[in-house]
Structures are given as C-alpha cells and as structure tokens.
Amino acid sequence: MGDLLSGFADALTPENLLWAFIGVTIGTAVGVLPGIGPALTVALLLPVTFRLEPAAALIMFAGIYYGGMYGGSTTSILLNTPGESASVATALEGNKMARAGRGAAALATAALGSFVAGTIGTIALSVAAPVVADLAVNFGPPEYVALMAVAFVTVSALLGPSLLKGAASLVIGATIGLVGIDTQTGQARLAFGLPSLFDGIDVVIVVVALFALGETFAHLVAGTGDSRVTPLRGQPMLSREDFRRSWPAWLRGTALGFPIGSLPAGGADVPTFLSYSLEKRLSKHREQFGRGAIEGVAGPEAANNAAAAGVLVPLLTIGLPTSATAAVILTAFQSYGLQPGPQLFSESGDLVWALIASLYIGNVLLLVLNLPLARAWVRLLTIPAYGIYAGVLVFACLGAFAAGGTIADLLVLTVLGLIGLLMREAGVPVAPAVVGLILAPLAEQQLRRALALSEGDWSVLVSSPLTVVLWVVVALALIAPPVLARRRRRVSRTREETSSTH
C-alpha cells in the first residue's frame, strides 16, 4: 500500500500529469482512427521519448494504452466501424443505439463502464498480479482448447437471428484466419503462392474491411450517401433506467475481462464476445438485443478495458507480452533497463508502482475527457454519410497501410471490403466472421500443440482438473438453454391452464 502511495507521489507531479494527459489524448485520438492502434503509436513515439525520464515516458505510454481502449468504442458506436477486434461486440448494440438517437447514452455507458472496469482491473492488478500470474501459467495448450470450446458454445448469441447465416459468417472468418504460414509446420496455407499472404491477414485489416468498407460500399450501393442520423432523441445522457441496467453489466464484463486478459494467450477480444453473449442470456430485455440494448454496450466495453488491465499481469510478472501493444511496451521497458519478469517488482518497484498509479490517474483523466466529449462526438452524426465515410475510407486505407506497409495490404482490404458488401447484401451478419477469425486459428493451434505434446493422445485434453471444469461448463452451456426453455414453456403452460380453469 505504501508502495502504491509513493507511486502516486511520483505520478502526480505536474509534469507527469501533463505527460499522462498528452498520453490519454493521443491514445483517444488513435483509438478513434480505424486501424491506427496504440501499438503503432507507442512504437513511433518510442525513439522520441529516449530523452524523457523513464517514469514520464511510461506514464505517457500507459495513457496511450488505456486511451486507445477508450477511443475504440467511439467509432464502433457512432459509425459501426470498429478499429480493432475488441470493439466489434460494442458495435453490435452500440450502433443500433446511435441510429435510434441514443448515441450519447451508448457513449456514456461505454465511458463509465470503461472507467469502472479500468479501475477495478487496475486495483486487481496492484493487489493480485502475482497470484493471478501463478494461476495463469497453469494454462497450457489443453486448457486453452477447453477455454476455446467454452467460447465457441457460448458465442452463439453473436450469430444473429439466422443460425445458418451466422454459421456461414463464422466459417468465412475462420477461413480468412487460416490464410498464411501455419505456425506448426511452416507451410503456407491458402496463400496461393503470394508472398504478401504468407504472414496471414492482419485482424485489424479484416475488421476495418468488413465493417468500415462494407458500410461505405453499402451506402454507395443503396445511394444513401446523403442520409444522416438524428443525433439525439429524448434524454441526452444516461437515464436512471439506463444506469440501473448498465452497472451489473459493467461488473460482469469486468469479471470476464480481467482473468481472461491475464491469460498468456487470452487477449481482449474473447472476453468481449463472451460478455455480449452473457448479457444477452441474462437480460430481462432480450427482445431489445439487435435493436440497441444498453447492456450489450456496457458489458463488452467493460470487458475490453478490464482485459487491457489484465494484459499487464503477464507482462509485468512473467515478462510475457500478450498483445501487440504489450509487446511494444515491453520494448519500452527494456530500453529503460527494466526487465519485466518475476523480479520486476523487487528490482524496479518504484517505477512499476508509478506506472500502476498512472493507470489510475489515466483512467480518471479519460473519464474527464470523454464524458463531456460524448455529446460533441454525437454531433458527428449530423455530417451526411458521404462526408463521414470519405474520412473513414481515408483512415481505413492509412491504417491498413500502416499495419503492413505494403500496397498488397490495400488490395486485401478492398477485396475483403467487397466480401463485406456481399455479406451485407445477402443479410449475413459480419460480426461472427470476426469471432471465427479470432477463435478458430487459436483453437486450431492450441489443439495441435496439445496433441503434439501428448504424441497424439487425445486424453491430454482432460488431463488436469482445470480442463475437466471447463468441459463441464461446455456441457452445461449446451444442455442448459434447451432444458430451461422447455421448463419455462411448461411453467407458462401450466400457468395458462390454471388461469383458464378459473
């Protein structure tokens, strides 16, 4: 506790506060731009910061990191163009809300949810990091296979109204995920001999293409370029009702996001999908899902930010970067002579505590910056579609080019954008494609690793208590909904019968 307080003392100097503010502002800005993520920003700023005090630089990077997570929700909600995979779940309900004139409420619940989750996540990081890290290292390939199975059976809520179309989209995503050199054998798959496809297709490019380009092309085809959305209808900010529906979703999102984010191969996208499915299952307003349910924004946004804090657990305690941004922050650590790992807290404790303290401060600054901005952002919708989507197109291309640095990336972006348009025209939802794109390769690699380690013995998949527990969850998730549905039907029928006898 004393460590954390002295960390606050280090981080709260006017100069460091300024760096934190610069960090969150840049972070929010790059989070808003599709495709230009915090990883690239930190990498570009790294050489510039060599002259800074290590504490100041790390504080700025922490601000960029959290800020990027915040900013990502804005374009998802307002324009249905998530800039990264972790914001996809937010776009599902958030954009429906924006179109119904509830954009400000969606942005507000996203900002508050991010703040709540970020704060709880940071607290968990400062008190429980070593414990969580110990648990996380027990996660080997068999455990991941079981976790992926849980994810697959629970994300059905994301598939949309038609199971067939949702599954088709899932398969399209999984196929895109297969492109590139296979990690286990080093052989290229579905690359058609094109060297640019050897490294696979960047998830960011797929997300930007399917959502942003698909959306743009759809406006073009439908000739709705002149359309605009009424930005505000009814109450501008969170109503009491909204708040009452949001806060449990924030907490559940946080509970999913932090632990999964802490896993060495967890990441921030899987918990957002799980949170969306969970909210849809638990909601008393299920009929609103698909038409703008606020829980569907609150949960995934909280999960996203809690996972962002969780990602720092393996980074700080094992020296294991689990996202692109974490990898770059690791580089930053090393250039200041910090070696993340089990001894980081004992060897360079004061810097680490300053970093953790600045995460708290960054969170508060972000809330201060973003809550009032929500109303301003919503005004974006008053620009006609052609204006907005021209800008989106520019940044989508810029982002795709920045991600890979080759013209081929732009071609891939365009082709995938056309696929996105075809899917839209056929009424196939695009979100499941992103789920397939992320889950399928992960599940495949982990399954093959598990089997390689056991020399082909399938019993490795249930070789630890943790895997057994996860498979039981899978079984429950498969069996419970139909059973519950039948019971509910029976109950309502008996109720009808009793009421009719009267």
């Binding site: 502002t25 840049i26 800005a29 808003v32 230009i36 990883a39 920003t41 990498a43 570009l44 700023l45 790294l46 050489p47 510039v48 060599f50 290292v137 027990n138 080997g140 068999p142 050199i181 296979d182 054998t185 080093g186 290229a188 060297p195 050897f198 490294d199 060495p264 191969a265 393996p314 094992i318 294991l320 970067p321 689990t322 692109a324 990898a327 770059v328 580089t331 090393q334 250039s335 070696q339 790992g341 089990p342 001894q343 901005l373 109303r375 301003a376 952002w377 005004r379 974006l380 008053t382 800008g391 810029l398 890979g404 640095g405 080759t406 690793r449 598990a450 390689a452 380690l453 020399e455």
Partner: protein
Amino acid sequence: MRITWRPAAAGPFVAAGLATLLLVVSLAAGRDDEGFLNGRQLRLMAPAAPGGGWDQTAREMQAALRDEAGRTEVYNVAGAGGTIGLSQFVRFERDPTQLMVMGLVMVGAIESNDSPVALDRTTPLARLLTDYEVIVVPADSPVRSMDDLVTLMKDDVGKVSWAGGSAGGIEQILAGLVTDAIGANPADVNYVAHSGGGEALSTLLSGRATVGVSGVSELVGQIRAGTIRPIAVSSPQRLPTLPDVPTLKEQKVDVELANWRGVVAPSGIGAEEERELEDLLMRMTRTEAWQETLQRRGWLDASLAGPQFDRYLIDERRTVTDVLKKMGLA
C-alpha cells in the same frame, strides 16, 4: 454541395488531424547533416513487426547512428521471417541510402519458405551482434543436464517435446542440430512451435513440454527468479550473463548456434559506397551509446564486416540449409 462548419462536429477531425500531424512530425523532424551521403537520409528497414528483435536492433541503431549519420528513418515491413521485407528491399537496387536489418532467422526463412528472393540479391555489409540460445527445463523437471536430456532422446526422440518459436526458426534449427549431433534422426524431433518466445515459455511453465528453447536475453529474468532451470547455452564459451550454465560443447554435444543480426544494402552499389557504409557501421559499434545498448539488452558484440562477413554468410547458409533439409523443412 453545401458544407456547414460546425465546431463541435469538427472536433474529432481536428483531434485526428493533430494526432496524424504529431506522428508525421515525430518521424520527419530530423536534422540535415552533411556526411558522406551528402546529407541524404539513411532509411533502415526492420523486416518484422514492432517489438521483435530486428525492430529493436533497427531502433537502437537509429539512436546510435544519430551522431554518426544524423537522423535515420526506421520502418517496418512485417512478415514471413523477413522474406516479405527482403522481396521489397531488393527493388532498391543501386541505392546506398537504403539498409535492411537481417540475421540468421532470415537465412532459415528463405530456405523453409522457398522464397523466390535470396540474400544474394543484396550487398552484405556487416554482422553486428549475437544473442545466443539457451535450453531450459521447468524448475521441477527431472532433467538436470544435457546428459539426462541426451539419454531421454536416445531412448525415444519423439518423447522429448521442444517448445520454441516459429517453425523453421532458430529454436527448431537448434533442436535439429542437437538431435543430429547425438546421432538421432532430426526428422523425428517433436517440436512444438509458438509465435514467440513468450508463448513458448508459457507452454513450458504449464509443465507440458520437456524442454524449452529461447534467446538468452528473453529468459534471463525467469532464470534468475528460478521458475525455469537452464541446462545449456548454444555459445562457444560460457556467457557473461549466465556464467554458471555450461555450453553444449562442454557437455559433449558438438553444436554451436548464434542468433546473429546484421545489416545489408541493396545490390549494385559501388565498392566505394560499400566501404563507406561498412565503416559507418563499424564506427557505430564503437560508440558509447551502442556499447551501452548491448549491455542493457544482453546482446553480445559480434562486429564483422567486409569479405569475412560474406564468407560467414555462405557458411551459415550451408549449415542451416543442411539441417532444415534433414528435418524435412526445406
């Protein structure tokens, strides 16, 4: 067309514009310096994503070259063990201001990816540094030395699972070389590939792999903390960072493997230009900034330029191709 200016609506665009401007300025705000390049700026390609070894090398060079050659631009072209970057780099023929970081991993990737472009279409300038590999086991593993491991492998090569980085990369090459050296068949190696050293480490820590292989600098923290136990390093002599860990050769496994990194220029540059660039790089390796970098990152100085480096490259290519062929990867 009528466009009305609304301050509130412009907010996001102003923010976006500012951020872009900041990024561009941070890249371009260099100073013009007269040197042998006549004030032209060097551009240095890191053929990998930000954060990896080549990227780190390029960005450290950028810092160390500041006094020698002014502002250098670093950019990333990620993918396929550097072969995507290489295939773009060969287009800069005769341009001495373009440089690319490369290393053993690229030599291997060219073979295992069947890359249409090889390093013979570049002008090798210098080797700069090496990072050696270390073979580790979980702290509670019964394996205590290379002898134990060799016994296990001679019993059944497939029973020993190796967790390491990408397929065909340096870790798998080392696993193949070790297997070959003890007289077993490298094609039987049970190698479990991961996208990076960190992921491989987590598989090893979960207790499911027999041994792990990774760069020394990546694992030093874990080794010091005692969560994993080193059993051998791939260097010719013991390493200053891990003085208690014996080499493979000390343990009667005749293998030596360095994960070296170097720099190449495009083909077709003049002999004079080549000499000037090599001089520049050698001067850089002697700067205080560079020596401090090596120290900080746990890299070892391995400067080698001119015809010696050309010969070294040919040798390395032969060794790597040979073992990859035996493993059925090339």
